[in-house]
Amino acid sequence: MLVSNVKRWLTALAGLALSVSTGGAAAEWGLNLRRGVTPISQQAYDLHMLILWICVAIGVVVFGAMFISIIKHRKSKGAKPATFHESTTVEIIWTIVPFLILIGMAIPATKALIAMENTSNPDLTIKVTGYQWKWGYDYLDDGVSFMSTLTTPKEQILDQQEKGENYLLEVDNPVVIPVNKKVRLLITANDVIHAWWVPDFGMKKDAIPGFVNDMWIKADTEGTYRGQCAELCGKDHGFMPIVVEVKNEADYQQWLVAQKAAMEADAAGADREWSMAELMERGEKVYNTNCLACHQANGEGVPGAFPGLKGSALTTGPANAHLQIVMDGKPGTAMAAFGGQLSDIDLAAVVTFERNSWGNDLGDLVQPSEVKAAR
């Protein structure tokens, strides 16, 4: 363990030295900003490098003067103090020169900013909604919508299992967008403020409940890009990643068709009668992605923070009241309203699951049709 750590450290340090000497290897070693795959990210990268080098140059001059002075003008070398002070000319020079440098920075920055904020004429619009702690996506033009949740197993997070390559950066349903198309994102949130950020796209935007922000992406390379929520949003802020797959037009269309088919199958399923076993199986999945973070795998919650569901008055009381809380949430707490997030089947399944797990054995089940009626 220690040896491998030392090795990785040396690699990182070597990367550091390399990037200083060549400036080129930086990206590979995760030292520098990513160039990314959109016009925005590339402009941001170029600006970043420009300002960085200006700062380095100013640093060399200022620290250079300081260190020359520290080395030469020291008492131990017999330096006698000069008496000069106050020079209006010098003061004016070192006010004007930085000001001019700033103007030099501001011009390209202004150009870049204007381009970034131009979200007009998109080819495609996707609504992004932040939830505690997952993302919801609605393809406004095609009627496709889904939730995107972390898939890294709890065992990996708790060090009981080797961590995978995309540890904490993997989700069940990635966003799919076509390559070389201007995609406009409408960003909002359902509970608290989140921020949608994929470094390779060069921009992040806050997702604010009650407000809609927008940004645009035009990815020029197919591939999978990963990011994370960038605004503190509570307990599992670090566990709501973003995965975007950029596909060519044909693959994108194919994906769209498959999504629509799946949604139709779901809608059809909502009208039929579901068996206990079916609901329990589906309910466990829904519970694990939506409820487990707070109410825990054993249904006991976290004392003082999140109430337990095992043997609680709610989960062993009337099914209607139970369903109502799941659908409408509990204002003033972290309990979100899942009515808008989950389908009729999922809601029916998770309520059924909660009423028949961890020793709760009411034996009753909630049908998707009942959920539909309760809406």
């Binding site: 920055a109 608290v192 409940p209 003082g304």
Partner: protein, 524 residues
Amino acid sequence: MSTATTHDTHHEEHPSGLLRWVFTTNHKDIGTLYLIFALAMFFIGGAMAMIIRAELFQPGLQFVDPQFFNSMTTMHALIMVFGAVMPAFVGLANWLVPMMIGAPDMALPRMNNWSFWILPFAGIMLLGTLFMEGGAPAAGWTMYPPLVLQTGNAFPFLIFSVHLLGISSIMGAINIIVTIVNMRAPGMTMMKMPLFVWTWLITAYLLIAVMPVFAGAVTMLLTDQFFGTSFFNAAGGGDPVMYQHIFWFFGHPEVYIMILPAFGVVSQIIPTFARKRLFGYSSMVYATASIAFLSFIVWAHHMFTVGLPLTGELYFMYATMLIAVPTGVKVFNWVSTMWKGSMTFETPMLFALGFVVLFTIGGFSGLMMAITPVDFQYHDTYFIVAHFHYVLVSGSVFSIFAAAYYWLPKWTGNMYDEKLGKLHFWLSAIFVNILFFPQHFLGLAGMPRRIPDYSIQFTEFNQMSSLGGFAFGLTQLLFVYIVIKTVRGGSKATEKVWEGAEGLEWTLPSPPPYHSFTTAPEVK
């Protein structure tokens, strides 16, 4: 000017023992109380930082659960800002302002006592939230709604402790302003005041201007939570972003409240050890005033990603970039003061030089994040964390260490152990860079701030940072040892202490008499 050594005795009926500290109205006693309080909070806040760095040593969750981790980042920031850095500077002001302007004491001594004694209660209330149902506040020190409204029982205690800390700061600031304006020795015009006094005068005005704004913002949170208002709730016609505007209208001046007195300290120390006058006294004063003014009109650069209109983003970008001008003037002045001086490198000078270099690095990253189109990438990443720790730890905290070593011989009458002091500096300077420099890389590579666990690509730099952090934390115990050793004894300090020292405080004996100047000195 040694007339100050005699003073009439009937003022001396102050209680002894513990009650001396409870009832004291003496600026030195209160200054000492502030400094001890700040040091204690520095270690409590530091212990929280150690928990954060331990959890971040490797990917996965090892020590704490994510909610507690968020509590740690929140409490660490609140305690360091309001418990350590601000009280430390108020403590320095208490000790030094009367001695520097030739006054016997602060203008409002009873209020001085009160403004200190509010602090321990506010601090205990804040720390007490750690043991409450629902845990300590975990929504970040910025307390953004709606998240902060999910705080458990700790919520009202958080708000009230912020109110108390604000009241204490405002009273301290009023006292400092009244003292500086009314109690200067004859002949000490405004433009003859030492720079530490100038920077604190300006800081005090900032405090009075913005602490009430902060109190207002948190009060609105309180009524949103308990009395059904919807100031920050979109569903009720409010606006969560409005909180951020109000908070940062306080918050940006607040960060300058923590750095302007540091500028003052460094501007006192560098001329002393360069044995050369400060290059541009008046431009330093004007630069400080400009920075203070600009601090009021740049707040939204903390909020570039909330969806400001383009014109708003452009304005806040330009205004923020402007801050580089007066800040540059300051750095250039310090370097010009050293140029062709006759420098020696005692511990206070080392910390001051460390300040100039490392604060400037923090300034560079600040300039980088002023550029809005790139800040979209930097925002809320470890790049920001690296930036503000460079200006706050190797900036403000280094200046506080510099001040402590510089004036400790004056305060105690004993010289500190120079060898240990230098060791403290070198260990601090090395470890603070191992601690915070890799965080620049982490942020650029894409690690968001305030996360308890991270993807494996960030492992190496987090490990470096954590090890640097543990070593930096341990090093600070050395400081406590050095201070205790100096208070207990050591070679006697002269009146002037430092060969190149100038200013009224160096005309008093070391340690100075209980009432600093009972007869006002004449300043020519």
